[in-house]
């Protein structure tokens, strides 16, 4: 039996979990079954999500930026998560509640502080880069792979923007997971909680609620809801207005639970409880079906939150994990599980928070994927032409719950051309939605009559054009580029390992088909290829793979022919199958 050695003799890279919050950000990692937090700001593990930009492009982060802000510094960017994935039009709706002026254009919103304009992606990328750097210093090794948390209720554009920021920071996003789900993972895995849980997550700028079933290592999200415009910041703003103080002063007053806080917080908490009710309704459950409630997010420190939640649902909220850390904690556990570090039995089944659909006649939206559908999912919908000889069709993809186009968010528009000229209703157009495990959508349209098939892939974006992304990538530090190079080498090595593995197994299984000389030749080819597993030049690795594949080609053909000869004729069980059907 041939043995295959691991490529890349360097030690396994540490994977990390990142909570990229509106007010604070954290990095955690799972090492030998224990979750640790990275000191990101001096000794503090919670880094205020603030970046101050100096005159000459120098940056300050965290508490230092807070101090600059307090001292009257003008170019301090914060609460930028609220702008993530938004264009100017979106951003105007909450312009009153953010501490900056809204700039930018129809594609992407920016915040303007004094003279500098920055998008949420740019500021978040700088913040993530700083966090990556701090983590590398702390661990004494390079980090690359990360699980990043996002509010469950983030839409496609907001998720894409988060991924783009990570990419600019030189991070590989193994998976985006939602914040309440991460919190549930932490409680489920490290506190062994089981049953049906409501996770109530009130952050600085967003509110999320998820209903999860936890059984035997399976974490199943049943329903989720939220409001990306509702958070603890709103309590600060209400308090600031009521008392005529700044939002920063209001935040301090809130932390001390001072006079007048409850009055300002009450209507905001009441709004969150209404959303919780809707989620229970969606799942066709009542508070009696719940086994517990988990509170997440810094804003749940306000005692009134726990009181009102307990009143509404008759459960005392779970404690045991620091609510500021629980999201990063869960992200670290998920990163570890994805990297294949034990935790094999763990399975996370998430859902899409928002429905996805297509524009139909009369400005209406036909839902293709309903909200709370488990992801990933692929779903096809059939359409036809409504005019004789119609050769093109506009496909308009929307996200949201309302039945009209205006009430939903437009994700992408494209035109399917080259439909053969046929009478109305004769063409068969199939639009396929594929939603991946990160909640990102790809839409494909095919015309299936007369064998003509054409498809257009659309990856909806929040307005950052691929060219913009490329420019930003080029502008970003060379450090990130080195990481890209490293990644490509790793991928080539992994690919070579796969081919070697496959060839070795084939030789082991069907080597008897070969004469001794050929067998020796192939064995030798394997040995040569293996010596390239640790090569540091990507081209060399790829060449080695090609050489090996060529050497094995005729053997592969022999194996397939041999298998066919042995097969019973006409027993192909799949040849009669029809494709996936749809409505």
């Amino acid at each position: 039996m041939l043995t295959i050695s691991e490529p890349g003799q360097d030690k396994k890279r540490q994977v990390i979990g990142i909570d990229l919050g509106t007010t604070f950000s954290l990095v955690a990692y799972d090492k030998e079954g224990q979750v640790h937090f990275v000191p990101l700001d001096g000794d503090a593990t919670a880094l205020p999500s603030m970046v101050a930009y100096g005159e000459n492009g120098e940056m300050s982060f965290g508490q230092h930026a807070v101090d600059l802000l307090k001292a009257g510094g003008q170019n301090v960017f914060y609460s930028m998560k609220r702008l993530m994935g938004k264009n100017v039009e979106d951003a105007q709706t909450f312009a009153q509640t953010v501490p900056f002026e809204i700039a930018g254009d129809a594609q992407i919103a920016k915040a303007r502080f004094k003279s500098i304009e920055k998008s949420a992606v740019e500021v978040s990328a700088d913040l993530l880069k700083h966090m990556k750097h701090k983590t590398e210093q702390h661990l004494g090794q390079a980090v690359y792979d990360a699980v990043i948390t996002v509010p469950a209720y983030f839409n496609d554009a907001q998720r894409q923007a988060t991924k783009d920021a990570a990419k600019l920071a030189g991070l590989n996003v193994m998976r985006l997971i939602s914040e309440p789900t991460a919190a549930a993972l932490a409680y489920g895995l490290d506190k062994k909680a089981e049953g049906q849980f409501l996770v109530y997550d009130l952050g600085g700028g967003t509110f999320d609620v998820s209903l999860l079933k936890l059984t035997g290592g399976v974490f199943r999200v049943v329903a989720t809801g939220g409001d990306t415009y509702l958070g603890g910041d709103d309590i600060d703003n209400a308090l600031a207005q009521a008392k005529g103080i700044t939002t920063l002063e209001a935040r301090t007053l809130k932390e001390q639970n001072g006079a007048g806080v409850a009055d300002c917080a009450k209507p905001i908490i009441a709004k969150t409880l209404q959303i919780c009710d809707d989620v229970l309704n969606d799942a066709e459950m009542t508070e009696d079906d719940l086994d517990g409630i988990v509170l997440v997010g810094g804003s749940t420190r306000l005692p009134l939150v726990a009181t009102m939640v307990e009143e509404a649902f008759g459960h005392k909220p779970q404690t045991g994990i620091n609510p500021d850390q629980v999201v990063a904690h869960g992200a670290a556990l998920q990163a570890s599980a994805l990297a294949g570090n034990k935790r094999d039995d763990m399975l996370l089944l998430d859902v899409t928070p928002l429905s996805l659909g297509l524009e139909t006649m009369g400005g209406l939206v036909e839902k293709v994927i309903e909200r709370n559908t488990p992801i990933p999912i692929t779903r096809a919908q059939k359409f036809t032409t409504f005019k004789d000889g119609q050769t093109a069709m506009d496909i308009h993809v929307l996200q949201g719950e309302r039945e009209t186009v205006e009430g939903c968010r437009s994700l992408a528009k494209f035109r399917l051309k080259g439909i053969p000229s046929l009478p109305a209703g004769a063409a068969r157009i199939v639009v396929r939605f594929a939603l991946d495990a990160d909640g990102m959508l790809t839409v494909t349209a095919d015309e299936e009559t007369s064998g003509v098939s054409q498809s257009v892939d659309v990856v909806p974006s929040y307005g950052l054009k691929p060219d913009d992304m490329l420019t930003m990538l080029k502008d970003s530090m060379t450090h990130a580029q080195q990481d890209v190079g490293f990644r490509q080498l790793k991928e080539a090595q992994l690919e070579l390992e796969r081919v070697i593995d496959a060839c070795a197994l084939a030789l082991e299984k069907d080597g008897a088909l070969l004469d001794e000389t050929t067998f020796k030749t192939l064995e030798n080819a394997l040995k040569v290829a293996k010596s390239f597993l640790t090569a540091s030049n990507r081209d060399d690795v790829e060449d080695a793979m090609e050489t090996l594949e060529n050497a094995f080609q005729s053997f592969s053909e022999q194996r397939v022919n041999n298998a066919l000869k042995q097969a019973v004729v006409g027993q192909n069980i799949y040849s009669e199958e029809k494709g996936e059907t749809s409505k």
């Binding site: 193994m174 998976r175 399976v218 309704n281 599980a337 994805l338 990297a339 294949g340 039995d345 399975l347 996370l348 089944l349 559908t373 488990p374 992801i375 990933p376 999912i377 692929t378 779903r379 059939k382 594929a434 939603l435 991946d436 495990a437 991928e491 992994l494 690919e495 796969r498 081919v499 593995d501 496959a502 060839c503 197994l505 084939a506 299984k509 069907d510 094995f552 080609q553 592969s556 194996r559 397939v560 041999n562 298998a563 066919l564 042995q566 097969a567 019973v568 027993q571 192909n572 069980i573 799949y574 199958e577 029809k578 494709g579 996936e580 059907t581 409505k583």
Partner: protein, 194 residues
């Protein structure tokens, strides 16, 4: 049994399984009935506990999270299978869609696009009227839920006796009543909050 395809990774022969018998990599997606994927008989009657069990078993094999450290081709395969798995599960779970799948197996497509018969239209019209006029909806809900239960046992019979024309009509009716139930519940919630 063999298929004519070869493994994308080791170029070796494949069998009816989802993973290559030689190198163990996940195969590219191929056309498959959701019933076969879940190893369920082609019948309308379905044990929901079995469905749940198989679903979790399949998730443990095909969820993309299990392939994060694999090559990008295998990850794409996992995404396709994982997406097909959830779509199949959703369809099997919902009686209307399950019936449509069974009818499609018989070459009967687009059942839900068909127009209801005049009889059905009359009944639907009457029900809608009741919903609009009444504020006391509990009885209506019970009546409709009874009708749904009857239709579902009717569908079991129709499929067992291969009476697909009847099954088609019952599916259409069931589709209407499922939507109607949602409307009743929506109005009940509205009345409760007002």
């Amino acid at each position: 049994m063999q298929t004519n395809e070869i493994c994308w990774s080791c170029k070796g022969p494949l069998n009816e399984g989802f993973f290559c018998p030689t190198c163990g990599t996940l195969r590219r997606p191929f056309a498959l009935s959701p019933f076969k994927f879940f190893a369920l008989p082609f019948a309308f009657n379905l044990n929901l506990n079995t469905l749940e069990e198989r679903y979790l078993d399949l998730q443990k094999q095909f969820h993309p999270d299990k392939f994060v450290t694999k090559t990008s081709q295998e990850q794409m395969n996992a995404l396709s299978w994982g997406g097909f798995l959830n779509d199949s599960y959703n369809k099997l779970k919902k009686p209307v869609e399950r019936a449509c799948l069974l009818l499609a197996e018989q070459g009967i497509h687009d059942v839900l696009e068909e127009k209801p018969t005049p009889d059905m239209m009359m009944k639907q019209f009457e029900l809608r009227e009741q919903l609009e006029e009444s504020e006391q909806l509990d009885d209506l809900l019970i009546e409709v839920q009874d009708d749904i239960a009857n239709l579902e046992s009717g569908l079991v019979e129709s499929f067992d006796s291969s009476n697909f024309e009847k099954a088609k009509k019952q599916t259409l009716e069931l589709q209407f009543l499922s939507k109607f139930t949602r409307d009743i519940k929506r109005k009940m919630r509205q009345l409760k909050t007002n």
